[in-house]
């Protein structure tokens, strides 16, 4: 599903350069549930952004479903994001002026068109069909993250990327979110990558990848 070969990422910082990734090699099979752990600044978010086609590597190759995507233009990358990848963010990133339903519909907007029935179904799967017309500002953190998950899965992407999905939540809501994500993974065979600081959450995953100083330094299988 995902093959990273010798990926580097260098950001120009004024006159100096900041090397964030120094030759990452990683293979992730279809249907895996993977946790990425590492200290702040280790480059794990950059790695996730590259995998999510939000950014392009400075060098190296990235094959997504067998297709080289690291040299694609911004329009093609947007197309991949629209159709193949669902994002779940630490800060939820919902549009505050839109209802939960409209936020979920936004997930389909750039992926072939809005289908209200499917949006409602996605909300039901995260247990929020009763709150479809509420705005994010009227919801708890856990509920907002569930809306975000519904938004990510509404277009049935093969890959879901979650960047510290429980980072802004209390432990009970966090547990809820993790159980939703893991059960989605189990039920639909979605490939799921998630960054987390929390070892207990990471142990819900089949595989834990440790990142440090811009490199994969080890991995364990649970």
């Amino acid at each position: 599903m995902i093959q990273l070969q010798n990926i580097t990422k260098v950001y120009p910082m004024g006159k100096r350069e900041l090397t964030v990734l120094r030759g990452v090699n990683l293979n992730i099979e279809k249907g895996e549930l993977v946790a990425i752990m590492g200290p702040s600044g280790s480059g794990k978010s950059t790695m996730l952004n590259l995998i999510g086609c939000l950014d392009k590597p400075t060098s190296g190759s990235y094959h997504l479903e067998g297709k080289e995507v690291s040299r694609l233009g911004s329009g093609e990358l947007a197309g991949i994001r629209a159709n193949k990848i669902g994002f779940v963010f630490q800060t939820f990133n919902l549009l505050p002026r839109l209802s939960a339903l409209a936020n979920v519909e936004l997930g389909m907007r750039y992926a072939g068109g809005v289908d209200r029935a499917r949006a409602l179904e996605a909300l039901e799967r995260v247990g929020l069909s009763a709150r479809a017309n509420h705005r994010p500002t009227e919801m708890s953190g856990g509920e907002m993250q569930r809306v975000a998950i519904a938004r990510a899965l509404v277009k049935s992407p093969p890959l879901i990327l979650a960047d510290e999905p429980t980072g802004n939540l209390d432990s009970r809501s966090g547990e809820e979110i993790i159980s939703i994500l893991t059960s989605l993974h189990a039920a639909q065979g979605i490939t799921l990558l998630m960054i987390t600081h929390d070892a207990s959450i990471a142990h819900h995953c089949q595989r834990i990848i440790h990142v440090m100083d811009g490199q994969v330094v080890g991995e364990e299988r649970t």
């Binding site: 939000l54 947007a78 990848i85 990133n93 919902l94 209200r116």
Partner: protein, 410 residues
């Protein structure tokens, strides 16, 4: 939901969430469009009114007036020369084809006495043809006949304005008045023309033959009787130019003008006057419209300003949309539509306001106004165009944002 509807509803949400700001943004456009509509409608109204006035005088009317004369290097004012004569009128009637009727007239200011009242009025001696040639209608009474004219009957027909001044609301027909050395009886009153330039409203018409009994009509060196003007109607308006040309050559011959001499008369056809006037008003209207259009431009800059702020404020939203797979042109179109939507709303409100103002202006009787469809369509499409033009750069800015940086922004 239809795919093309999505950007529209997104734009609507964008506009509706900042109602006050959206309103202030489009205020410039509203004022600009309203000003254009109002000024253009007033201009069009004035034009329409003048044209209808001229048409009421008869668009087949041609008027000949004496020109200026030069004597020892001194040029008199136009109309000062005594060059037109009864004989000229008769010659035109006989020799120029396509002339329906010719009406020479001689005007003079006379002392008019009614009862104890003594006023100075313009009295015009005319032939019976005067009435049809000038397209006049009677409010009451009758006009004098060919027989009255032949025998020099002492009868008068009053212009509406003169009747008002001399008799007020009381009936004028049948009343007597002294005019110079003769006493005339009023037999008719004309309908008001409300016209421009030498309107018959302000004159007393009597048979020219009667006029000669009290005022000595001057004669030229050749012994012809001088007139103040000659009005004539053409039988075929299409031939108007030809008639003017033929009269010119006829009068030049009769007045024995050499090839290097200027005409000593001036011929004005109503058609020509109408086109000159409406052209002048059209230019004026366009000028007013252009000044109003400047405020549209200023309004457009305001829209651009707000759109730039809006893009900045919604950087995170743009990041989210990009993460969800929005391409650059999706974002670009979203903001462009939002800008066009704002200015379209401004344009429509502006049309309504402009329409209301011009309605008010005409209903208060200040001026007649005509709101024409082409101006409305033009104003609305120009305002949409302004939105697209001034929204272009902000929308382009938005579309170029880096999704990761946009997501990180607060």
């Amino acid at each position: 939901m239809k795919k093309w509807l999505d950007p529209l509803s997104t734009a609507w949400v964008g506009v509706a969430t900042h109602k006050l700001r959206s309103f202030l943004t489009i205020l410039g456009i509203v004022i600009g469009v309203a000003a254009v509509i109002t000024l253009m409608s007033i201009g069009k109204g004035a034009e329409a009114r003048i044209i209808s006035n001229i048409e009421s005088m008869g668009s087949d009317l041609i008027t000949i007036r004496p020109g200026s004369f030069t004597f020892g290097g001194v040029r008199s004012a136009a109309g000062g020369a005594a060059t037109l004569t009864m004989e000229d009128a008769a010659a035109i009637s006989e020799r120029v084809p396509n002339v329906a009727a010719v009406a020479p007239s001689y005007s003079s200011s006379l002392q008019v006495v009614i009862g104890g009242q003594n006023t100075n009025s313009q009295v015009t001696g005319v032939t019976p043809e005067y009435m049809p040639v000038n397209n006049l209608e009677l409010a009451e009474g009758a006009f004098f006949s060919e027989y009255d004219y032949q025998r020099g009957a002492k009868v008068a027909v009053l212009g509406a304005g003169v009747k008002e001044t001399l008799f007020g609301d009381t009936s004028a027909v049948g009343q007597q008045m002294r005019m110079g050395t003769i006493i005339v009886r009023v037999i008719g009153v004309l309908d008001s023309k409300g016209g421009i330039m030498g309107s018959p409203d302000d004159t007393i018409l009597i048979p020219l033959t009667a006029m000669q009994q009290t005022v000595a009509q001057p004669r030229t060196a050749q012994g012809e009787r001088v007139v103040s003007s000659i009005a004539l109607s053409v039988s075929d308006e299409q031939q108007s130019d030809l008639v003017v040309a033929e009269i010119t050559s006829l009068l030049r011959t009769r007045h024995q003008l050499g090839p290097s001499d200027d005409d000593d008369f001036r011929i004005m056809s109503m058609e020509e006057i109408a086109s000159t006037l409406s052209e002048a008003i059209g230019t004026m209207t366009l000028l007013l419209g252009a000044i109003a259009a400047i405020s549209l431009l200023v309004g457009g800059i305001g829209v651009m300003n707000i759109m730039l702020v809006s893009v900045l404020e919604r950087t995170r939203e743009i990041g989210i949309r990009k993460a969800l797979g929005a391409r650059e042109h999706d974002i670009w179109i979203q903001f462009l539509i939002e800008a066009a939507f704002l200015t379209l709303a401004g344009g429509i409100i502006g049309v309504i306001v402009g329409w209301a103002v011009s309605y008010l202006v005409s209903s208060m009787g200040v001026m007649t106004t005509v709101v024409s469809a082409d101006i409305v369509i033009l104003a609305v499409s120009v305002s949409v165009g302004i939105g697209l033009f001034f929204g272009f750069y902000p929308a382009w800015n938005a579309s170029r944002l880096n999704p990761i940086e946009a997501l990180r922004s607060e």
